[in-house]
């Protein structure tokens, strides 16, 4: 098993990462060229009214960089927490066959507190969008 893993590793070469760089160069080149093209072509008639923020014809009041609902912030915090946990699943999943049944049982000790934490935030109403 270890042997086959090493073989897999040697199959991947630095040329593959070069491929990603090439693709990135194509993507950035296309985006850059199109941005320049659309900037140079096309008419430009700036008026004060046109430059106002669009709010369905009603004059806009104040700045749009307003504080937003705490729910979104809470979602982001919970996402960071859980995303870090999800990251730990990946190395375990890749080595799942080598670790065997014992590794699976050990992983349950990781999943159980994770799930308890999830039930806790559920109980606290952090995922409830209607009343908070």
């Amino acid at each position: 098993m270890l042997n086959s893993y090493l073989n897999k590793n040697t199959m991947e070469s630095n040329v593959d990462y070069l491929g990603i760089l090439l693709q990135m160069a194509f993507a950035l080149g296309f985006v850059g060229l199109t941005m320049v093209a659309t900037h140079t072509l096309g008419p430009k008639r700036r008026t004060a009214q046109k430059a106002e923020a669009f709010e369905c014809g009603v004059e806009s009041v104040g700045n749009a960089r307003l504080p937003f609902s705490i729910k979104y912030f809470l979602t982001a915090i919970l996402f960071v927490l859980f995303d870090v946990e999800v990251i730990f699943f990946y190395p375990w999943a890749v080595n799942f066959k080598e670790l065997g049944g014992i590794g699976y049982l050990k992983m349950l000790f990781f999943i159980a507190p994770l799930f308890l934490g999830y039930l806790y935030i559920l109980k606290k109403g952090a995922l409830n969008w209607e009343k908070m």
Partner: protein
């Protein structure tokens, strides 16, 4: 070494053209399918059957006035759509398009980057796409744009969790994050038969990640005008719209690769002495699967109405995420003890 680089260069440029072509014609077929489902005719003016419509749209977009509202942040206003488009175009690098191609005694992988972190690469680049929308919406200095942008970002991060968890059982089975290994692991049974519920979770998350109906709340036009791209004009707007179609193409390719056997078709192994034929047939088969899923995306759009925002968040956090954790536990037990 030089020949490998040349091969990669040709492959990348072809892939680039194919991606743009598919994305452009997806807009045409989206409108045609919408018209078909609603008993209309759809675009039929530019060229025969309206086939030149995507080109006309693209040219129109470039020649429209580029406009930036007062109070917007200039650098970020340009960076938003650029980032959305660039990340959308980069994701397809890790997808295997077929078996090996042989040219002049050399064997080349029919894939831009056969890296051993393939799945993680795709997830990483896809999640960078959130920044494009968030930056674009915030920098416009428009309240609708801001609302659309924060909706989009919290929707995408929520569904990313379930998406990341839903494919763990596939990796448990394959033991590798390399996309070509995952495809090879399906040469007898497709993952969708081994793992139907995981496919359903992944599919729902793919809809949410690409901001497609029924999860298109970020650009929900009845509430937010145009959502995060309200203030955008010309090709900057075009990039936001176009990146959605590129993402749809890449998501379809990911679904086909992870769950529907990628380039595998019955009888592929009997073509071992004809590697190039096998590679091109595999490419055709993968493309047929991809086109089916692009059609499926459009079909859903005209069938299911939009979710309410709290329903969307409840589905992501309270249904999909716990289900995928339970599925990991169940499949782990099956693979270890049965």
């Amino acid at each position: 070494m030089i020949s490998v680089i040349t091969f990669k260069l040709i492959l990348v440029s072809l892939l680039f053209l194919v991606t743009l072509g598919i994305a452009a014609y997806s807009t045409y077929f989206e409108r045609k399918i919408a018209a078909f489902l609603q008993d209309r005719i759809g675009p039929n003016r530019a060229g025969p059957f309206g086939l030149l419509q995507p080109i006309a749209d693209g040219v129109k977009m470039i020649f429209k006035e580029e406009h930036r509202p007062a109070g917007s942040n200039r650098l970020l206003f340009i960076l938003g759509p650029s980032l959305a488009m660039a990340t959308a175009l980069m994701t397809s690098a890790a997808i295997p398009w077929g078996t090996h191609i042989e040219i002049g005694g050399h064997s080349y992988a029919f894939q831009v980057a056969d890296i051993n972190v393939g799945v993680l690469y795709v997830f990483a680049i896809v999640s960078l796409g959130v920044y494009g929308i968030l930056i674009g919406g915030w920098s416009s200095n428009n309240k609708y744009s801001l609302l659309g942008a924060i909706r989009a970002s919290s929707q995408m991060i929520s569904y990313e969790l379930a998406m990341g968890l839903s494919i763990i059982p596939i990796i448990l089975y394959t033991g590798s994050l390399q996309m070509s290994d995952i495809v090879e692991g399906q040469h007898q049974v497709w993952n969708v038969f081994r793992y139907p519920l995981g496919f359903l979770i992944f599919l729902i998350c793919a809809f949410a990640e690409t901001n497609r109906t029924p999860f298109d709340l970020p650009e929900c036009e009845t509430e937010l005008v145009g959502g995060y791209h309200t203030e955008y004009t010309s090709m900057k707007l075009g990039f936001f719209l176009f990146s959605e179609y590129v993402n749809m193409f890449v998501s379809s390719a990911m679904i086909a690769t992870l769950f529907f056997g990628g380039y595998h078709f019955p009888g592929l192994s009997s073509l071992e002495h004809l590697p190039n034929l096998a590679a091109f047939l595999g490419f055709g088969v993968l493309f047929a699967k991809i086109l089916f899923f692009i059609f499926f995306f459009m079909w859903i759009r005209w069938t299911i109405p939009r979710f309410r925002y709290d329903q969307l968040m409840r589905l992501g956090w309270q249904v999909l995420m716990p289900t995928s954790i339970v599925l990991i536990v169940i499949y782990g037990a099956i693979f270890s003890f049965l």
